[in-house]
Amino acid sequence: MTLVGRALPRREDALVLEGRARYLDDIDPTGGAHATFVRSPFAHARVGAVVAPGDAPGLVAVLTAESLRGRVRPLPFQVPDGVTAADEPHPILADGEVRYAGQPVAALIAESRPLAEDAAELVEVDYEPLEPVVDARAPGVDLVEFRRSGGDVERAFASAAHVVRGTYAMPRLVAAPMEPRGAIASEEDGLLTVWCSTQDSHRAVAHLAHSLDRPPESIRVIVPQVGGAFGSKGGAPAEAVAVAAAAIELGRPVKWAEDRLENFLAAYQGRGMEADVELAFDGDGRMLAVRARIRADVGAYLLQATAVPPHTAGMLMCGCYRLDAAEVEVVGRRTNRVPTGPYRGAGRPEAAYFMERAVDDAARELGIDPVELRRRNLIAEFPHTTPLGFTYDSGDFARCLDRALELVRPERSDDGERAVGTGVGLYVERAGGRFESAVAALQPGGRVLVRGSTSPHGQGHDTTFAQVAADRLGLEIADVAFEFGDSAVVPPGIGTFGSRSVAVGGAAVAEASDRLREACLAAAARVLGAEVSWDGGALVAADGRRLTLAELAEAEPGIGAEARFDSDLVFASGAYAAVVEIERAAGRMRVLRLAAVDDAGTIINPLLAEGQVLGGVAQGLGECLSEAATFDDEGQPTAANFADYSLLTAAELPPIETAFVESASPLNPLGAKGIGEGGAIGTPPAVANAVADALGHGVDPPFTEDRLWRAMRT
């Protein structure tokens, strides 16, 4: 029976359910020391002398920028095609200046974590406070710039019957995985081994190699069980580099397990963008062009992927619509806040929110029903190249919209006390792209071991990829084992982010499995001296002689195959719809129901895919209802714990209906696109448009009582 398409529970669950899974802080290397960091209490200050305690109980070493000089380099950063970026990398430890509250200034290494924390209390740092930049809209220093246009934008706007303008903003958010970050480093015989709570080993190896200026071959990164990431654990953070430098210096293992406060202060945050959007329409409500100016609060430094979300947001500003022309300008301004980077969606939610809010505003101004206005302008033929140059490979936007409306049951009423409204939010997201690889080997006993280059942190790669490989090989799922996340054994790849694991990593697994099958057929033909055919776990010659995979593995050891899969971007899409109710007297908003329809191409495992959607929706709803990383006028974070930065609980989630539309991507053998981010992308515009429908005008999230109460009185 075919495994792809079946809702199988995860085979990786038992370890976790019984408390046997090993996360970073569950690993205690023998003879290990513990690190803690002294972090800047100021958002912006000059740093003078850093005076370490001469002696403190259990203190082993103190690292500062001074003591690390010549041994580490600032973190690397990536510049997407067409983006201009300032040379402002993040230092490992602050050198002469701190630019955000929480920036690491010194590392204390001691015999235990409590002793390291005690010693940190004794460090004296000479700070001279400087004026912080707290408003990304104020004139200042631009760290990232991106401009692109296509088609005749001037003409489209000049000839337009209507031009609709609006300004929309998404707050900064904290990814807040339940497990904070962490790293353990140990060097032996010239090999640096780093266990890191990160999304994949490849980027962490590259970052450590850059910052420690040593060959990647001399670094092994092992990704243990990871307690969530959502984009916020890409590569190696500055603290991991410091810990590695300490382990090299001391010749013993050193561990850093981040606490929640540090995660709120120093893990990169997401979103924090605002856009002026203009849409040009002809007299029939046909959308001619979009023009957008996006301002991003990128924070104090450029981290590895800080420039990526602003670029992605810009590139996706054509949304799901047929346009003659488009122009985007994206500016990422420096502020004295922790840097931003990818958080579930990473530019996609921002683009969908800006565009979908603008379309609803246009519908109100033009007096056309928002759903009807969308229908008139949806892209219906694929592949479709947008004026900005992205080529959407596949989709069925109209069908997604129809399904979402069917599931949500639209409603609108206002009795003066309660206003009820319905909104929709469409999205198209870039996924896939670049390459991943897989190695499949026939093992003694006849089982197959596959090593994949993407790496799990909750998604369920082990089960999903085993469904793919077992199908290709005609085996039972239990006959295929997987290994991920250890750079010493996995083949080359880019990593797990941007909804790309199945479409690229899964495609590599499929191709490696196909090749293993060919290799087994060829080997069996040699062994039997006859042509053979494949019969699940056995190879059969025309004369009826059979060779099981176990026998083949014994007759010809070492049969294996590998595949590297390269692909252009694939484009997942979806339509979300929400019904909300606002209590006018209090400004209290309740999401009555929500429908999530995603087109991620072929779904390998509907149970796990729905899990991704529901989780993304919960994060999107959190953004709508309560989440915002706020700062005061001094640049101090004012929501740096779970009491002030409030994640939704089980009691606050509304009923959610999900459905999939499966338009297969032509760009990979699975027909897969990506499902990891849709919920976080589609939910905010749907809820925001429902709020606007209820109130008659739009408001930016989070839709707190205070904000809605005020919005009803202006």
């Binding site: 976790v16 497990e179 714990n641 089980a650």
Partner: protein, 155 residues
Amino acid sequence: MRISLEINGEPHEGEVEPRTLLSDFIRHQAGLTGTKVGCEHGVCGACTVQLDGQPVRSCLMLAVQARGRSLRTVEGLARDGGQHPLQRAFHERHALQCGFCTAGFLMTLEPFLREHPDPSEEEIREALAGNLCRCTGYRGIVEAAGQAAREMRDG
């Protein structure tokens, strides 16, 4: 300070500082790392364990407060070599993704279901409102709790 207590039915002795948190004692001294620490300020519920059968947040207690008491962690949930109905239901309903919050949910739900053998969905959601999960959107967890309740009643 010397403390003795019962952990998952076995007697246990340990030497702790007065300031040692119960969560740190469980994880780093007793070596039971199935209990997780997610926030250290009592909001996320990941560190929930049972003390004399009642759920407590082990990050908000000192190890010395557990002296002479009976402690149960996720490692002690399975009985007679088989998984607890909650563990099976969590697996079947895809109630976990990254799994970091899972032990806290299990140790919160187990005493809740003992005291509320036939809970409504709303009661389950309220009972879980002190535990944060960032991955699942809670639906699988709520469904798993209902399924386990049925199994515990019937079995």
